[in-house]
């Protein structure tokens, strides 16, 4: 490199410098604005019914968001890596049920039943992941099959009846120093998700795999291992959500969490992730899950008829994402 030294290294020109500022505020927007949307939603509800903004009701919303949020955190890994996981609801039910069964029928100690339940989810997720990574099944099919299998096994184990959970699981439904444990679990799960996605090698690899699988593979990223990991994580988080449900109800239900998969995916997408992979954040997912919980809670508190509730929920979901779309278009141009 001799002759080239006459060339001055590329320096940012002034116009390029100017760019950096809006760039920063753009990033700010990505994280802040959906949150502002959430605040507006809360404000509207507060004006409509003062009962909404009470400490007690906000705790309610937090608790009610916790299940979907925890599932959605797990789903974020999968969606960032370009997949989808339809089995989270069923896996949550299976984990909760197997944990209760370990305690009630297999007489394991309570904490072991809790760990066993979590492992169940991890294994179920890893199985889906193997089917996707090594069996080359589309994620939609692999996890749809797991949805069916996990729900079936839940029914087989329980013989269709609820089973009482272990004290360790029930504890997840209680309060600690006035704060409901589900909210604490929610917070911890969110932080763990954010750290994994942002800071770890496997997390950054998820974005690469979701963004362009072939480019990731050719760069030496172990794509298959990443895929198995994301589904295993999703299963683990689903199991944790299953424990929360069982803990809050003091019993594992055979039909627990059915249909939750669509809510979890919706939370992730409302939070700004793209189903084509490579994009998504833990904070966005949290906001998405909170928006869903606030809508549900708000409609209950407002006393909207349950038939109309479904109509309104659909409209608000569409609106929330539409606002996000507008915002992005705004920051881009």
């Amino acid at each position: 490199m001799s002759g080239s030294s006459t060339i001055a290294p590329t320096k940012p020109s002034t116009q390029e410098r100017r760019l950096r500022l809006p760039g920063l505020s753009g990033q700010l927007a990505t994280t802040l604005l959906p949150f502002i949307g959430l605040l507006v939603l809360c404000l509207v509800l507060f004006i409509l019914t003062p009962n909404f903004l009470t400490y007690g009701n906000l705790l309610n919303v937090g608790v009610q968001a916790s299940t979907i949020a925890v599932m959605a955190f797990g789903m974020t890994f999968v969606i960032v890596a370009g997949g989808i996981d339809l089995s989270v609801g069923s896996v949550a039910a299976l984990s909760g049920m197997l944990s209760a069964w370990m305690f009630a029928t297999a007489d394991l100690p309570g904490w072991l039943a809790l760990v066993g339940g979590l492992l169940t989810g991890l294994v179920a997720g890893a199985v889906s992941g193997f089917a996707v990574a090594y069996g080359r099944l589309p994620a939609f099919i692999a996890t749809l099959a797991m949805l069916s299998v996990a729900r079936g096994l839940t029914l087989v184990i329980s013989d269709g009846r609820p089973i009482r959970t272990s004290p360790a699981v029930s504890w997840l439904g209680s309060d600690v120093l006035g704060v409901p444990v589900p909210i604490i679990v929610l917070a911890v799960a969110g932080i763990v998700t954010a750290v994994i996605l942002n800071r770890t090698v496997i997390g950054r690899s998820m974005y690469a795999v979701g963004g362009n699988e072939e480019a990731a593979r050719l760069s030496g990223i172990p794509v298959k291992r990443v895929l198995v990991t994301v589904f295993a994580l999703s299963g683990l988080f689903a199991a944790l959500a299953g424990m929360l449900i069982a803990g809050r109800l003091d019993s594992a239900q055979p039909q627990a969490a059915s249909g939750y998969e669509l809510d979890a995916i919706a939370a992730v997408v409302i939070g700004g992730a793209s189903l084509s992979g490579g994009v998504g954040r833990a904070s966005g997912t949290l906001v998405g899950a909170l928006i869903l919980a606030v809508i549900r809670n708000g409609l209950n508190v407002l006393g909207v008829s349950s038939f109309w509730q479904q109509v309104v929920i659909g409209l608000v979901i569409a609106l929330a994402v539409f606002v996000d779309v507008l915002r992005r278009r705004g920051t881009r141009s």
């Binding site: 002759g3 060339i7 590329t10 116009q15 760019l19 090698v201 963004g211 050719l218 030496g220």
Partner: protein, 532 residues
């Protein structure tokens, strides 16, 4: 560019600049364009005249593609006017431009891989009656268009199964079949070898005779003299000069980069060692590769030449662990690599620049820094945590070294110009400090100045005891950069030449040899297979 390209010298009979310029069909009148706060183009005027080839010249990121996108209705100028036939027009969409007879071959391929060649050629204009596609007419029109670029492939082949070069030809055929008055060609030759380039230029000459107005972009300066008429030189989004295409290359380079480039192919001072660093033996993949032996010594640069479809890409991919192979071995520094494992290849020090930067090289939504750092993500981590600040500063360093033109390393790769994207893919392995580089068309779309940078880097790797296997369809490049040249044809090695003495004719002779001799394909027969 001193080496002669396989391009005919300009024919004396051509009209060129000898007659007064005809009135322009299309004019960009003082246009400017910005993305957000960045002014990409500033007050540029370009005329496109019938029977003339207007060349746009500039470094990577100078704004050439952005400029032609305003002619084809993809972008609308923020300031200034688009004038067609003397009237200011608004080109709101591709359709608008097509209606005015403006067709574009874009820098990036715009094909649907899963659809057939025929449908891709006529995409958006499938001949139909009452909403039903007329298949026979489709096939006929597609065949006609493909014949013009002498591309002889089955009309029913999914385009995704063709190599990049043939896809480029399909793309050209597609634009030609529009029978446009204005044809815009954005780096159409970047993915072509000399022979296809020649065919393309033949078509350009025909179009010139038919008074079609053309815009041509290329980083191969010798092509400008070969087919261009006038040249508009862009620098940093501003028009810095308008000169005739006959201007000497040195002068064009000076106008473009603002300095002289003395040596197109910088020579190395050291000689290769004796130790074989990359040792490939008997590599075979049924139907694709046949018993390939390649040895690259430490400090050596080996070029691989061949026609499109010779299997060069397949060879590199097999060595890099990207594709499986049926038999044979790959050793790096005496250590055998596991087949079909990119991970073990990267760990052994192999760096592979694939031929398709968008499809195989880049995560477009990720930042420049991320893209540069993928190969070192795991190696630089601690306890599973990525070394983000370290990666970022290393990426910054490499980006500066490769003169990647960007806002900052956090900009999304998607927003960079084509040549700068190509530099990212190369830079990944510079950052990783790879000892064995497998380069598949590493300078495609890269400007003259930056190409020299890449050659310097290749030399630096070799000087540090590395090994480089270079596939390129740019024959002067292969001859100028390599120590020796291997020639492939039909998935076999057909010969080896020392680069210092080899001529392009010798290489081409070897490149067509095998196909003619062993493959039982009559070379000069007309369109095979597909009737009608």
């Amino acid at each position: 560019m001193t080496a002669a390209a396989p391009v005919p010298a300009s024919e004396p009979s051509r009209s060129r600049t000898s007659v007064p310029a005809p009135a322009p069909v299309l004019t960009l009148d003082s246009v400017s364009k910005s993305f957000g706060p960045v002014d990409v183009l500033k007050d540029i005027t370009v005329h496109v005249r019938p029977g003339r080839v207007q060349v746009l010249l500039g470094e990577n990121g100078a704004g050439k593609s952005t400029l032609i996108k305003m002619m084809s209705g993809i972008y609308q100028p923020d300031g200034g006017r688009v004038v067609v036939d003397g009237k200011a027009v608004h080109l709101g969409s591709v359709r608008d431009a097509e209606r005015l007879g403006i067709a574009t071959i874009h820098q990036e391929l715009n094909l649907v891989p899963s659809m057939t060649v025929a449908e891709n050629v006529l995409m958006g204009r499938l001949p139909s009656r009452g909403g039903f596609v007329s298949r026979r007419t489709t096939r006929r029109l597609a065949r006609e268009a493909l014949d013009r670029v002498r591309l002889d492939v089955d009309l029913d082949t999914p385009v995704g199964q063709l190599g990049i070069a043939r896809q480029q030809l399909v793309e050209i055929a597609k634009a030609l079949s529009l029978n446009a008055r204005v044809l815009i060609l954005d780096e159409p030759t970047a993915a072509l070898t000399g022979s296809e380039t020649e065919v393309l230029f033949g078509v350009v000459e025909e179009l010139r005779r038919d008074d079609v107005a053309m815009v041509f972009i290329s980083h191969h300066l010798e092509e400008i003299a070969a087919i261009g008429d006038e040249v508009s030189v862009l620098r940093d989004g501003a028009l810095v000069a308008e000169v005739p295409a006959s201007t000497p290359e040195d002068e064009l380079v000076r106008l473009m980069v603002g300095r002289d480039i003395t040596e197109q192919y910088p020579r190395r001072t050291h000689t290769p060692g004796e130790e074989v660093l990359l040792d490939v033996r008997g590599l075979t993949r049924t139907g694709v590769l046949h018993g390939i032996d390649v040895q690259v010594r430490a400090g050596e640069v080996v070029g691989v030449a061949g026609l499109v479809g010779a299997g060069r890409t397949e060879l590199l991919r097999a060595i890099a662990g990207a594709d499986p192979y049926d038999s044979g071995t790959v050793h790096v520094d005496g250590q055998r690599l596991a087949p079909r494992s990119v991970g073990s290849a990267v760990a052994a020090g192999i760096g592979h620049v694939p031929e398709d930067r968008k499809g195989q090289g880049l995560v477009l939504d990720a930042s420049v820094a991320e893209n540069l750092g993928y190969a070192t993500l795991a190696a630089t981590s601690r306890a599973g945590f990525a070394d983000r600040s370290g990666q970022r500063s290393r990426a910054q360093e490499v980006a500066t070294r490769l003169r990647i033109r960007m806002r900052d390393v956090d900009q999304a790769a998607r927003d960079l110009s084509g040549g700068n994207q190509q530099k990212i893919v190369f830079g990944r392995w510079v950052l990783a400090g790879s000892r064995v580089l497998l380069l598949d068309e590493p300078t495609r779309g890269v400007d003259v100045g930056a190409r020299v940078e890449i050659y310097e880097l290749i030399n630096a790797v070799a000087a540090a005891g590395g090994a480089v296997l270079l596939v390129s369809s740019d024959l002067p490049e292969v001859l100028g950069v390599s120590d020796r040249v291997l020639v492939m044809s039909g998935g076999r090695l057909t010969g080896e030449l020392p680069a210092s003495t080899a001529t392009q004719d010798q290489v081409m002779a070897l490149a067509v040899k095998h196909a003619d001799d062993d493959d039982h394909v009559a070379p000069s027969h007309g369109p095979e297979g597909s009737p009608s």
